[in-house]
């Protein structure tokens, strides 16, 4: 096992290469999933606000009504 970790004396180079690659791939995946979730939530709010507002009603009051379900 320690032989495996030692990588023939090149442990620092080999393991940091793999660690950095893993870090980049994991961070990209996490950012992608995070953005997807954020936008799904924002879209739900916007669409709920649009449904709740009857057609033609002005939106002068400021914040759009939000139904209970999406709070």
């Amino acid at each position: 096992m320690s032989d495996f970790l030692a990588m023939g004396g090149y442990a620092v180079y080999v393991w940091s290469a793999y660690a950095i690659a893993a870090l980049v791939l994991v961070v990209l995946l996490a950012m992608s999933l995070g953005a997807l979730k954020r936008r799904e939530a924002a879209l739900r709010l916007l669409e709920a606000a649009r449904e709740a507002r009857p057609r033609g009603e002005p939106t002068g009051s400021g914040s759009a009504p939000v139904p209970e379900s999406s709070r």
Binding site: M7, V14, A17, A21, V27, L28, L29, A35, R39, L43
Partner: protein
């Protein structure tokens, strides 16, 4: 009249393919498979690359860096070529998904290019005795990295997202000239970087014991890219819908 007819047919076919609802259906069908494949191939590739394959007789265990360095270089080029194709399609057929796909995958391409550069550096230090040289291969890949960053910055620099995407598409198409330079840099100039040893004509230059983990890792990176491209393009579609709804709200 034959050519305009054919163009019209192609345009219809493109738009049908580009239909966001259809994209969502296809993405939902592919995603579990691409995600599962990514996990399986990564596990297999890591085992083959780190445990089952031999150390190189000259380079020792540093050769294992190749199993991430070379596939990430391939992905860096492949993703840029994809973006260039999407940009061209966006200009010619006004394909509504093309520009969104382009914007969605750019950070993934930048990520793979960074991995390629950093792992190359970590391989160069023990084998060449230097972290970096300004040879043609290394420099042209660094330019690729800046093209990715430039695209991301440019696309986000406009108030009108559509104009940003168009400007970005032009940058991507101009930057295509860099791809053959990267590919052939090791043949055209004397570089410290070695020439290709995977696809040399005649004899396979790389031992099967090393070629197998390399190809498995390449397949794993490809599956990872497909998964992220689908996830991120979906997020871009949601973003566009949010922008449309917000504009409608602002206008009413």
């Amino acid at each position: 009249m034959a050519l305009p007819d054919r163009m019209a047919y192609l345009t219809v076919a493109m738009h049908r393919f580009a239909n966001p609802a259809r994209f969502q259906r296809i993405a939902t069908a592919i995603l579990p498979w691409s995600a599962g494949l990514t996990v399986l191939l990564l596990a297999a590739g890591l085992y083959l690359g780190l445990v089952a394959s031999p150390a190189d007789y000259q380079q020792g265990d540093t050769v294992r860096i190749m199993y991430i360095h070379v596939p990430s270089a391939w992905m860096a080029l492949f993703i840029y070529a994809n973006m260039a194709l999407a940009s061209a399609v966006g200009f010619v057929w006004r394909h509504p998904l093309a520009d969104l796909f382009c914007r969605a995958v750019a950070p993934v391409g930048a990520g793979f290019t960074a991995v390629c550069l950093i792992t190359g550096s970590l391989w160069g230090e023990p084998m060449w005795g230097t972290w970096w040289v300004w040879d043609a291969r290394l420099t042209s890949v660094l330019i690729l990295f800046f093209l990715y960053l430039g695209y991301i910055a440019l696309v986000n620099a406009f108030d009108d997202p559509v104009r940003g995407l168009k400007a970005g598409a032009i940058l991507v198409l101009v930057g295509v000239v860099n791809l053959p330079i990267i590919k052939f840099s090791v043949d055209w100039w004397n570089t410290l970087h070695q020439p290709a040893s995977v696809s040399r004509l005649g004899r396979p230059a790389l031992d099967p014991a090393m070629l197998t983990p390399l190809m498995v890792m390449a397949a794993a990176f490809m599956a990872y890219f497909v998964t992220l491209a689908l996830l991120r393009t979906r997020a871009e579609l949601l973003n566009r819908r949010i922008q449309v709804l917000q504009m409608a709200r602002g206008a009413s």
